[in-house]
């Protein structure tokens, strides 16, 4: 069986993992139009080549990222999320006074 190296648990069979989709940055959650949200939710780059994507080790519920070649099925590297998410992401909503009327 194919082996994937979990940053937390080390090398494990790939059947222990769940593929979690392409990594793509969040749109601006206040300013994004519904078209941008549609693109974020539905549209994918679906690259034939090297991609960065989410994986989860299901036994330990540990989420991490992997670089994988989708032409050769080689996993090039797995790494912790703090390589990309290295500062706090604000999800605060608009204050009431800023909400456009109507």
């Amino acid at each position: 069986m194919k082996v994937l190296i979990c940053p937390l648990n080390g090398p494990r069979n790939i059947s222990e993992f769940i593929y979690g989709g392409e990594y793509h940055p969040n749109p601006d959650h206040i300013e994004a139009s519904s078209r941008e949200w549609a693109e974020y939710v539905f549209f994918h780059r679906n690259v034939a080549g090297i991609v960065t994507e989410w994986w989860c080790h299901s036994a330990s519920s540990y989420w991490f990222l992997a670089e994988r070649n989708t032409l050769t099925d080689e996993i090039l590297r797995t790494f912790n999320t703090d390589e990309i998410f290295n500062c706090r992401v604000e999800f605060s909503s608009r204050s009431n006074s800023e909400v456009p009327s109507g």
Binding site: K2, Y19, H44, R45, A48, T72
Partner: protein, 413 residues
């Protein structure tokens, strides 16, 4: 006809009929360039030529005719979907299938065997009842069947209540069928070539020239070809080709693996599928059991076969047909399925005026081949969008009007 046959039989040199145009030089310009010579691409070319008299058409194929997913699918034809749009579309396709051998003068070996989908849970029964009602309303033969009826339809199906997932009911779809997949591409290509369409194999489109919102030419490994319109019909590479034209699609490409056993005497008439244990199986007219299942667990553009999938398909099919434990596997292979978020295709117009999409064919492309040929050709020739494919536009994802067929797959993916 009998005299022609007699003359042929008595002749000394057995003249072979040429089915496809000889591979000549590419012309500088075509009215329509179709990328991909599978069933869909050749079907569109055929109907452009036959129904609309458009014959300055080139079908460009990077490999060989019908060598992609047309050769790799498991040849299931059915229309027991869940949404009105989906059922209507596939129903019209199944009707066209019935006459395809006459249309081609070429035997596609269409066999109306029926399809039985198995329910192993109350939730599945509820969804089957829903599908049966929608199907019957739209003139498709689907009905709920109980265990006794199932045992009569498929006598060697394991109905034991001691099974890990006992079968509690089923959805019987009398319109379910199978056909010989290669012949569909050959038949369409032959009919198209006879009417003047050019088939160019080993001709890979490497880039697409777009000027001021219009496609002007495609660049191939054999040079530049100007074109009035382009249709992409490249199941398994939809995202890659669309990207050349600057179009993003809501697709993830996953392999789907299948396998066949050695041939046996006829044992199994209908197609049997179980979304619950992720397997479907039917016996070909040659006697082989074709066993397929869900897509691979992660996206990939590689048609390798894995031991993991062989194990899981085998385990699942033995739950249903234990006698297959004695069977030897002949082959295992994969096709690439372009999965869309709602399990419906992406057909019709694109953001580029003269670039047409026939994409997102996931695991439902083969059965739709004839209706795609007719409707896409009509769209390209008349610039009018046929009602039957209008709901499958790429725009639906921006309008949040998806056509959810995730509940109607033969083996959940």
């Amino acid at each position: 006809m009998p005299f022609g046959l007699l003359k042929y039989g008595l002749s000394n040199d057995y003249p072979a009929e040429r089915h496809f145009s000889p591979a000549g030089e590419l012309k500088k310009h075509y009215d329509v360039v179709i990328i991909g010579a599978g069933g869909h691409g050749t079907g569109i070319a055929y109907h452009l030529a036959k129904d609309h008299g458009i014959t300055n058409v080139a079908v460009l194929e990077k490999n060989y005719l019908g060598g992609g997913n047309t050769a790799r699918n498991t040849a299931v034809i059915r229309s027991n979907y869940l949404t009105e749009e989906g059922v209507t579309f596939y129903r019209e396709s199944v009707k066209l299938w019935q006459n395809l051998s006459n249309e081609f003068n070429f035997n596609v070996m269409m066999e109306n065997r029926g399809q039985l989908t198995l329910a192993h849970s109350d939730a599945a029964i509820r969804s089957f009842r829903w599908r049966a009602e929608v199907n019957q309303h739209l003139g498709v033969r689907s009905e709920l069947v109980d265990r006794q009826q199932m045992a009569e339809l498929v006598p060697n199906l394991r109905m034991s209540e001691d099974a890990r997932f006992p079968i509690i009911g089923g959805l019987w779809h009398a319109d379910g069928a199978t056909a010989r997949h290669d012949v569909v591409a050959w038949g369409y290509a032959k009919g198209a070539c006879q009417r003047g369409v050019e088939l160019h194999q080993l001709t890979e489109v490497q880039d697409i020239e777009v000027t001021q919102g219009r496609v002007t030419a495609v660049l191939t490994n054999r040079g530049r070809v100007e074109c009035g319109a382009v249709v992409q019909a490249v199941a398994g590479a939809s995202s890659v080709v669309a990207k050349m034209a600057g179009i993003a699609l809501p697709i993830h490409s996953y392999p789907l693996q299948a396998m066949v056993t050695q041939p046996y005497k006829p044992l199994l008439t209908p197609h049997v599928s179980s979304p619950h244990v992720h397997v479907y199986v039917h016996q070909t007219s040659r006697g082989e059991f074709v066993i397929g299942g869900g897509s691979d667990p992660y996206p990939l553009y590689n048609t390798r076969a894995t031991l993991d999938q062989r194990e899981s398909l085998s385990a699942a099919v033995l739950e249903l047909f234990p006698f297959l434990a004695q069977a030897r596997l002949l082959r295992q292979w994969a096709g690439i399925t372009d999965m869309t978020p709602d399990y419906s295709p992406i057909m019709g117009l694109s953001p580029i005026e003269n670039y047409y999409l026939d994409a997102g064919w996931g695991t439902w492309g083969f059965k739709a081949t004839p209706i795609c040929g007719v409707t896409m050709a009509e769209l390209v020739a008349t610039k009018r969008l046929p009602d039957i494919i209008a709901p499958f536009a790429l725009e639906r994802f921006y309008r949040f009007e998806q056509i959810n067929e995730a509940g109607a797959t033969a083996a959940s993916h």
